[in-house]
């Protein structure tokens, strides 16, 4: 019915010792359970049937005894009335002759001597009356008894009652050989049934268990082979039940495994080829890596320089704007001085003294403008080496550059800074960072059309860290753009207003050159906050600083 392809020796290893006596555990367990259940059922059946059968046989004997006694009483009623005991004896002798199961009949008349009638003869017996049960004249009694010789009888005793009068007692002893034969026959049949059941267990149970467990064992063995890597193991169980389904599923699984393994091998081969190719490429890459790194560094450096350059150009633009704002007032004042001088000249009131005062005034204005240029030049003078510097001074210089622009646009700038805080880095770069943040805040408050634009710069020292925050009330940054504002060339400003590299350069300077962090966030009430977190310089670290 079922067989396993592949290695036949391995496939039948569980059955190889004695094919007819499989030794696998499942077979023994199923066989044991099956056999035990059948034996238990047979034993239960026997336990139930024996009392029932015995009871049934006793009922049959009772029925027979009652019938015989009624027949005798009916036949002998007239004789009993007339004390014709000869008829009684004769009749009972005939009864005994015709009914071989009756062993004896004892008639105990109400008066007179009892008669015991048996097939071998009859006799008058005085002691039979005394041997009767106490209730013999009142009710019937029956049951199997053993006499003195050890012979068992079914004894039925009943009053002889007719015409409402009890005329005596009749006691009939029946042969129990038929009963015993039936009991023996029952035991014999039960023995045969038990024997048949045992044989059935051995026969049917063997084949049933074999039928049940063999395919499972075959599948199990095949599974073991599969587990050992033999994917040629297939089982062929031609059955339309779950085991057949299991077999087919198993074969499908093995086929799938085989297919997967083939695919895997193909993948491995492809991967090995790719690895070899990649290895070749890597070797090639390794050979040119130094050059490529140098090229990349140079390219990055060039890009960085370009960015710095662009940043400087942007800063220059900012600076020019700031200078323009700074110069706007002295130029106006100078223009007024010049107009005043011309007006006094026309009016003829120009005096030497007034001329000198206006000249002095003009020179002061020119000097102021010149100093402004110096300030800007100094601000943008590139520092070459990092050093400790005062934070407040660096921030003030940045604020002063933007002061004219802020005043021109009515932007309120508030700075809260501890004069003693020192940082370590290149002051010019840091000032450029602060300038970028202030310029960015200025653009933000101006773009938002804020009626009362303001910018708050706050410096907090927390242990050995310094946190500088630049807040504005320009509406803040859209949440989806918070992580993009530091990307190079990213800007939300109108075309021509922003280069998109200010914040990027600021983050590069803070994080790469000053070992700090620059982060952007929004503040409650609608505004942006840029926070610089930098390590502070301890007193012992800055001996040169005065």
């Amino acid at each position: 019915m079922e067989m396993m392809s592949g290695n036949a020796d391995a496939g039948h290893s569980g059955w190889s010792i004695l094919r007819w006596l499989p030794t696998n555990r499942m077979f023994l367990r199923v066989f044991g359970v099956f056999g035990s259940l059948l034996l238990a059922m047979t034993a239960l059946y026997a336990l139930l049937i024996i009392p029932l059968q015995r009871d049934s046989l006793l009922k049959v004997m009772y029925s027979q005894a009652a019938t015989v006694s009624r027949s005798i009483i009916q036949a002998c009623s007239d004789a009993m009335l007339t004390d014709d005991f000869g008829f009684v004896v004769e009749h009972n002798l005939q009864v005994l002759q015709n009914n071989k199961s009756v062993r004896s009949v004892v008639i105990v008349p109400r008066r007179g001597t009892a008669m015991r009638i048996a097939p071998e003869g009859w006799v008058m017996q005085e002691n039979e009356r005394a041997a009767l049960p106490a209730t013999a004249f009142e009710k019937e009694s029956y049951g199997i008894i053993n006499d003195a010789a050890g012979v068992s009888h079914y004894r039925y005793t009943t009053p002889i009652r007719f015409s409402g009068v009890i005329w005596g007692v009749i006691r009939i002893d029946f042969d129990t050989s038929e009963y015993e034969y039936n009991i023996d026959e029952m035991y014999r049949q039960l023995s045969y049934i038990s024997l048949l059941v045992v044989l059935a267990i051995l026969f049917a149970g063997y084949f049933f268990t074999l039928w049940l467990t063999r395919p499972i064992s075959t599948i199990s063995q095949a599974a073991s082979r599969v587990a050992r890597g033999d994917l040629d193991a297939h089982v062929h169980v031609k059955r339309n039940d779950e085991i057949g389904l299991l077999s087919r599923s198993f074969n499908q699984m093995v086929d799938a495994l085989q297919q997967s393994r083939d695919q895997l091998e193909n993948y491995n081969q492809e991967l090995e080829l790719k690895v070899a190719e990649r290895t070749r490429e890597l070797d090639e890459l390794n050979r040119t890596l130094d050059q490529r790194v140098r090229d990349e560094i140079a390219m990055r450096k060039e890009q960085e320089n370009l960015l710095i350059h662009q940043s400087r150009l942007a800063a220059m633009g900012e600076m020019i704007g700031a200078i323009a704002h700074q110069w706007r007032q002295p130029l106006n004042a100078l223009s007024l001085v010049m107009q005043n001088m011309r007006m006094q000249h026309r009016m003829g009131s120009l005096t030497e003294k007034s001329m000198d005062r206006m000249q002095e005034k003009g020179e002061q204005l020119v000097q102021r403008m010149s100093s402004t240029i110096d300030e800007f030049r100094n601000f943008f003078k590139p520092g070459k080496h990092p050093e400790a510097f005062r934070l407040a001074q660096a921030m003030r210089s940045s604020a002063e550059i933007m002061e004219g622009v802020f005043k021109n646009h009515g932007i309120a700038l508030t700075m809260e800074c501890d004069e003693t805080i020192e940082l370590f880095g290149i002051p010019g770069e840091f000032s450029q960072v602060v300038l970028n943040l202030l310029s960015n805040a200025k653009d933000s408050v101006l773009d938002s059309g804020q009626a009362e634009p303001r910018i708050l710069v706050r410096v907090i020292r927390i242990w050995d860290r310094v946190q500088i925050s630049v807040e504005d009330n320009g509406g803040g940054i859209a949440p989806e753009l918070l992580n993009k504002v530091f990307e190079p060339y990213f800007t939300t400003k109108d075309e021509g207003k922003g280069s998109g590299i200010g914040l990027y350069m600021s983050k590069m300077i803070v994080e790469n050159n000053m070992n700090g962090r620059l982060e952007a966030s929004n503040v409650r009430g609608g505004g942006a906050r840029f926070t610089i977190n930098l390590p502070a310089v301890r007193k012992s670290d800055s001996p040169r600083l005065q």
Binding site: G86, E90, L93, E120, G121, W122, M124
Partner: protein
């Protein structure tokens, strides 16, 4: 025959074959029973067996007929008659060639020379007809007047014997001798009635008395005194017709004495309640015919007016 065309060897061989065939046929004729054409056609009077049910008697005789037919390779038929007259007429017409009935009826209705040898029913204890009374009883055969007697019903022999006694000793019919005449179907019941004081005397056959005492030895102590006895060999007989050949009769009757010795025969005898069968001659009917004759004479004498004596 085409002997003329046959060769000399062939003629000799054919003659030898023909001679052997004729010799074989002669042997078969000699081996065949001479009276093979005869059949046994027994007639039985049903009333003759009072102790056995009619169905049992039928079955027993039919089985017996089959048994004998198979054993002697003869055809055997059994005819049952309800009365002796019908049986006698059938016998006279030759429809039956054997008759079976009780001895008194056979003696009355068949002449001795009409009958040939046959068999009788033998019982352990014998067939003597005995008149019993209690051991302690002082009743004698002359003290029967006013007593209660019990006897077998429908038994002509018992009736004739009892009437004979009454006529011998009292010159009158039993009806006028006994105060009560009880008729019972069996010897045992008659003995029991005597035992239980339901009768003063009982007329029974000796085998019945013996059987009753076997059934209860207590009877031996209380009853058993014989005050009258008719010695007879058997009560039941069956005879072949005298017209049946002696060889045929003897061939059939050889099985009779040994019948009780083999199981099937024993089975048949048990059905008919017989101990065994014995060969019998028609002359054994004479005591019955003589008793009947004496009874009739005494009866006539007793009925004759006293003045004529």
């Amino acid at each position: 025959m085409s002997c003329a065309r046959a060769s000399a060897d062939s003629l000799w061989l054919r003659g030898l074959k023909a001679g052997l065939l004729i010799a074989l046929e002669l042997l078969l004729l000699l081996a065949r029973p001479a009276n093979s054409a005869e059949t046994v056609r027994m007639g039985f009077l049903l009333g003759a067996r009072r102790d056995s049910p009619v169905a049992d008697v039928h079955t027993a005789f039919e089985l017996w007929a089959e048994e004998l037919s198979a054993r002697f390779e003869v055809q055997m038929t059994v005819t049952y008659f309800d009365d002796i007259e019908s049986m006698r007429q059938a016998f006279r017409r030759g429809e039956i060639n054997g008759v079976g009935a009780d001895a008194m009826l056979l003696g009355r209705n068949f002449k001795e020379d009409e009958l040939a040898d046959g068999y009788s029913v033998a019982m352990r204890g014998g067939w003597n007809l005995i008149l019993l009374t209690g051991k302690e009883s002082a009743i004698g055969v002359k003290d029967l007047l006013g007593k209660r007697v019990v006897l077998l019903e429908n038994d002509q022999t018992s009736i004739i014997y009892l009437e004979l006694l009454c006529h011998r000793h009292y010159a009158r019919s039993c009806n006028r001798v006994f105060a009560e005449m009880q008729r019972v179907p069996s010897n045992n019941q008659a003995v029991l009635r005597l035992f239980f004081d339901k009768a003063d005397v009982a007329l029974v056959y000796s085998h019945g008395n013996e059987l009753a005492k076997e059934l209860n030895p207590q009877l031996e102590k209380r009853i058993g005194r014989v005050i009258g006895e008719l010695p007879i060999t058997s009560l039941y007989y069956a005879f072949f017709s005298a017209s049946v050949s002696k060889d045929f009769r003897q061939r059939i009757l050889t099985a009779i004495p040994t019948m009780h010795t083999y199981p099937r025969g024993r089975q048949l005898l048990d059905i008919l309640k017989m101990d065994h069968l014995e060969l019998a001659q028609p002359s054994e009917l004479r005591p019955f015919t003589q008793m009947d004759k004496e009874y009739r004479q005494l009866k006539l004498q007793s009925e004759r007016p006293k003045g004529r004596q």
